[in-house]
Symmetry: C2
């Protein structure tokens, strides 16, 4: 889905006030209610303009002759869509239309086919062929099928870019399009891939349009990257400057105090549950549960900020119904008043996060544990692997410059969690060494689009 | 050593005239008499200006969490030399001297430290720090020690570049040199690495000086690469245009006819052995042996052409004594006459290849099998692995446009040989897909130096 889920925060958290930690939690997964693409949301009018195709992708591009493979090259089936309706095979001047190539990121590629309007809208003008390539391990391009969890090691950005480089060559061969310019498109992690591919494979990609690509959120930047920038960005979206109610951020921040004050005993927790409008079945029976609840409430604002588009969109919900335009503003309308009583603030907060969790308006109550299914293989989990293995982005909150709580990034804890969850030891400097972070002045033909409302813009 | 040895030619050859094959040989290794760096040749005056240092390099940069590693990151000891005598830590204007970084290639890094005069000569003027980094698996930077042959899979150019990117970062940290420009140097395969690193890691390498780097000798070029260009280049060096005796190339070519004519029976083979001045112990007892002999004779010209410098040099011999200036010209002086009798031509050819094989002048006779030691791990073998695994360069000869014999490149045979020797299946298009071949117009600050006398210049 969206890759905030890579942060260790949801799984290893302290319920702290600014005065210090109250509770050290056991790791627990945050619910991911919209982690799977809604099949019902797929726009058949777009898909029907494309051919679904498959190729055999090399599993490991960078090491050779695994003894268990007995001299064969291990491959996996990779899916992609080619849409040639608008493609100008040969213009009057002999030129060939370009190829617009979406570099799939951490979800089913149909999500991007559905939501990358810029490609569909520009195709007629440029006479462009559209290609949507699925990222290895996501959607239906999964090596080892149901056993994939035991074989995660070949999931990585470098491997994915090599897949795309080979695919671009194959398409040029198949369509006799060696003269076509190839423009890469991608958003979020896909935007990182697009910009990195233009840097690393300029012979394959003639240009890149990279949306909301946080390519320098890594260790090793000089000067260092501010790990609090994401939380500050979310808070900015809840501010008057960004069009939200002036009291919004303060009210959100005050909610964490209520959780701390009331979270210590059963009566208080019942007050919290009732006030927020949680379902009667919700087991809010410990401080651990309250700490989880806090994560879940905060995550709603993270998600709405990442989907804070000026138009209604189902992108952030993976097609499970639309969020309204400017969802953070809408959420903030519920927590807009000064001088709310404790119960009023809780009720307001319940409605605010309901803009995300209950965007259909159909749920009678909220269940923070809904969608928590430890057995299902969610794409969000795969991103967590990538975060651990190759793209350790530090995240922190402070509750002062942002509307959350004090939660400094703990590298040691993050490393331990990655080892436990995936058996991989993060190399904190790797992403900066491999991709260059801010030092991309040698690159050309890369357009970065970063909305000021996007918390990744920092 | 030099990476012609990657060609399958020496191991799977047909003794052919232009009329067709005579014999299909069993694979056999060509001797590599100077494959190991001569320790005696190391220039202590240079080495003493440097510190020998070691680092732990990540064994596999691009896949994560090998289950056999139990969450640890497997590493190997990588050697490098840092020479700071001339380094301007801080100039009057506050600037810091650059780092000249040699990207080690397929040999002991001391060979390059010894022979890269350009770096040593330029260091004082630029106030440069010199770094010579050893390529993984070569010299003393060998993972798994004596068991390395069972663990070849992490030998590759991408892995090596990632090593260098990490090392550059570490050096900048250690010497507080984040403001220093880094210029990469490399020749031959090292020149390929230097130019590719500037393309793929422009944030780590600010420029590259790439000597004799055959970066487009791969399948997949549009228009296709001419696999005969190397043989033509060697032949050019033996031509009047390149300063050699006018009759040289024709005489060399005529030698192969003699091998075919006399190679079929014992009496003829004795005539060949005596004529060429081979040692009495040499077992020239079959057509197979004669085919091997032909390879060995031809290889002398390949090697001399690659080392056809205008000054005496021990580079091509790995420090085992110097070749004269323009060794091909010197060799050609022995085969300069027209109308040589068969025995005269053989004797002349023996002297010509002796410029390389007997450059010390100390051997009383020639032994084509000297230095053939199937048990020793020669660096040349490792290059053959890389050739098979990731950089399949086609080579061919035709005996018409070059002075050799008809030997078209046989992809199927090359693939089969790679599978047998290394258990790897070549991906012929990979190098072009990964590195871009000729399509490097997006690159900047890369100086390619290619002498016209260098057979790699084509």
């Amino acid at each position: 889905m969206v890759f905030l889920s890579g942060a260790p925060a949801p799984e290893e958290q302290a319920l702290e006030s600014n005065e210090g930690p109250l509770v050290r939690l056991h790791p627990r997964k945050l619910s991911q209610p919209f982690a799977k693409l809604s099949k019902a949301s797929i726009r058949k009018d777009l898909v029907h303009q494309c051919q679904e195709k498959w190729r055999n992708a090399t599993l490991d591009h960078f090491s050779y002759g695994d003894p268990t493979e007995k001299g064969e090259i291990a491959t996996f089936p990779q899916r992609y869509f080619v849409c040639t309706n608008q493609w100008q095979r040969q213009a009057a001047d002999g030129s060939t239309g370009p190829i617009f190539f979406y570099l799939g990121n951490e979800a089913d590629v149909l999500l991007y086919l559905n939501n990358t309007g810029l490609m569909w809208e520009s195709a007629p003008e440029f006479g462009a062929m559209l290609v949507f390539a699925e990222h290895r391990y996501y959607g239906e391009s999964v090596p080892y099928g149901k056993n994939v969890r035991k074989h995660m090691r070949y999931l990585g950005a470098e491997q994915a870019l090599a897949d795309y480089a080979e695919l671009i060559w194959e398409i040029k061969e198949e369509y006799d399009a060696h003269d076509s310019a190839v423009i890469g498109f991608g958003g979020s992690y896909g935007g990182m891939l697009a910009s990195w591919m233009r840097l690393k494979y300029p012979h394959a990609l003639d240009g890149a349009i990279a949306g909301s690509a946080p390519i320098w959120n890594f260790f090793g930047e000089v000067p260092p990257f501010d790990p609090g920038s994401f939380a500050k960005g979310v808070t900015y979206d809840a501010s008057e400057l960004a069009g939200s109610a002036p009291a919004c951020a303060d009210n959100v921040r005050d909610t964490w105090d209520l959780l701390r004050i009331y979270g210590g005993d059963d009566a208080g927790r019942k007050f919290l549950a009732t006030g927020l409008g949680l379902c009667p079945s919700v087991p809010l029976s410990s401080e651990d549960d309250v700490a989880y609840l806090r994560e879940w409430l905060g995550a709603a604002f993270d998600m709405m900020a990442m989907g804070n588009f000026p138009y209604p969109s189902a992108y952030i919900t993976n097609g499970h119904g639309e969020l309204p335009a400017f969802p953070v503003r809408v959420a903030c309308t519920f927590v807009a008043s000064d001088n709310l009583s404790d119960s009023e603030l809780l009720a307001a907060m319940g409605k605010a996060v309901g803009v995300f969790y209950n965007h259909t308006g159909e749920a009678a109550c909220l269940d923070p544990w809904a969608g928590t299914d430890p057995d299902s293989d969610h794409d969000g989990d795969w991103w967590d692997f990538q975060w651990c293995a190759e793209m350790l982005m530090p995240f922190s909150k402070d509750g002062v410059t942002d509307m959350f709580w004090s939660d400094p990034f703990n590298l040691e804890a993050a490393v331990a969690a990655c080892q436990e969850r995936w058996g991989v030891t993060p190399r904190p400097l790797w992403a900066n060494t491999e991709w260059g972070g801010r030092r991309i002045s040698a690159g050309s033909n890369i357009v970065f689009s970063n909305g000021l409302l996007d918390p990744w813009h920092a």
